[in-house]
Symmetry: C2
Subunit: 368 residues, 2 copies
Amino acid sequence: MNDDALRVTYRLRAGGAAAAQRAQALALEQSIEMPLEAVSDARVRHEVVARVEGLDAQPDGSTLAHLALSAESIGGDAGQLLNMLFGNSSLLGDVEVVEVRLPEAMAAQFGGPLLGIDGIRDLTNAHGRALTCTALKPIGSSVADLARMTGLFAEAGIDIIKDDHGWAARAHASFEQRIVACQREVDRGNRGRELRTLYAPALCGDAETMREQLEFAQGHGVGMVLVAPMIAGVSNFNALRREFPTMAFLAHPALAGNQIAPAALQGTLFRVFGADAVIFPNHGGRFSYARETCLAIAAAARSTWDGLLPALPVPAGGMSVGRVPEMVADYGIETMLLIGGGLLAAGDALPERSREFAARVAGARRSP
Amino acid sequence: MNDDALRVTYRLRAGGAAAAQRAQALALEQSIEMPLEAVSDARVRHEVVARVEGLDAQPDGSTLAHLALSAESIGGDAGQLLNMLFGNSSLLGDVEVVEVRLPEAMAAQFGGPLLGIDGIRDLTNAHGRALTCTALKPIGSSVADLARMTGLFAEAGIDIIKDDHGWAARAHASFEQRIVACQREVDRGNRGRELRTLYAPALCGDAETMREQLEFAQGHGVGMVLVAPMIAGVSNFNALRREFPTMAFLAHPALAGNQIAPAALQGTLFRVFGADAVIFPNHGGRFSYARETCLAIAAAARSTWDGLLPALPVPAGGMSVGRVPEMVADYGIETMLLIGGGLLAAGDALPERSREFAARVAGARRSP
């Protein structure tokens, strides 16, 4: 195995000799998928077969197995990375991906965020504080209602107004209609002020449809798009990201629930594949991630990584304006807070609550 | 909610009043993602919000919740179907998709298999018996070795010789090199006989790359391709499937391990999205699916469905020639048996074992 291997840590529900055997079986499953004895090609045995580099017994009886996977079997393709990382093992049920470490050359091939945190700050003119984000809900609303909502959020000074991820292309309000109507509203709101609110429409459909949507959006002055890499297919996400280098890409975690640790998938891999910002379910909301899991996602998205820009962590999923100080204390200001339903629940007081959201975030600083 | 709704059964780890509450929360999570009280649009309340249609308490304390999801929110897009079905819920960890029932019009939009079981039988001239399939291993092999292996399998009368799913585009043996070398071997083997062995190369990369690979393969007389819908992105899988209507599509289950019941995802949905044949891990091999799970996948792939062809079930994952009678007894002859490593482990006796595989399947009939 060359030194440019992909390093992966798996958790196995086994200990001792059984764990060593499972780890070796996993190394074969995630590379050549056949008995080692039956491999006659010396090059394959030495350079392609995954290698168990270490085993760490854990107090709970499980074992962390450290494997090295051949970069050749990935070939610079994001889909193949997932495939070699967890394609077949995802069907095993009792194996988890705990950590992924990419060799420098592989990360450079994927390219990572092309705008990253600084790029999003430049687009929005939001500096020295956390960013704010909200969502246009509910799906099925009329274009007029969406435009009204967008105008209101833009006036309140929310940085990013994103589509809900449930919009289908042939929905009641089409992608093109939403772009025209909502982008007009943010443009209006941005007139004569420094802050630049962005509208981030949700891409959907196959890659070719997404490409057309991106072209349409870019042509109408849209600065950011929302896409769910696990639904789009990560190879397509990575390809589109590179085809539209000035567009900010906001990653949605839909269908990302599996046995790949959230920090490894939504933090490290979504970033490597090019997300400028990553939405994830924050603790204490509608989802069950632990606080440590959420902090680990944010850390993976922002960690120092030679040649790779940091991505903006976006904790979300049932957040409220009341939690702003606590969230900024947790995540610091290199973060975007996403509150959707929590604003809309204000009903007639939506403008006030939206302004309150923006103001609280502007005033919040990380606790010492 | 119109009568053309998507019907989904979820298993919730809760009972009684708690289950009713969870089911209602799930209906909101998988549709409008906001509190119902905050929805003012009557059309959205009645036609877009998912509806809990029934709750069945289970003996183990869990509850089956039957939900109806709006077809409008799916818009004929496979990715949106997964999104609305399980996008956010996949992050909950304690919710499972047990069953999916598509309205006729929606299934027709996706189109399902365009060749199906009969089409694959016509392509291979394999009638009145189960089909056989093997895999070219290990990844990393030279083109010459792959060609030699392909020729040997074709001579032995194996119906389908597929790539391993771990081949990357820029691998040691490129996609194009493999096509040229392996297709030449199957063409040679097929000369002067009725049986027509197919070579099924693995697609990888983004959708545009897969499209080019399909064109290249089709131009070289390839009759079937292997693709992992969960890695390619199901919208892309469905789109490519429809763009290449005479090509047989063999679905690989890589990354399909999650909380969607295998029969619902690998059986029903992969079929609806257009797989002519679906590979799944058979019980008693390298994976841990129960026999009932495997039979349910096969049943979902082949069940009578107005307007939708049946897909060929392909049990795999550590099978051996010795298990042929048992597998045919289990699955009947409308099945393709896939044995990869189990053949290659024969070493120098590979030709004999391959012929034995073909002969045993030819002689096997479902037990009375």
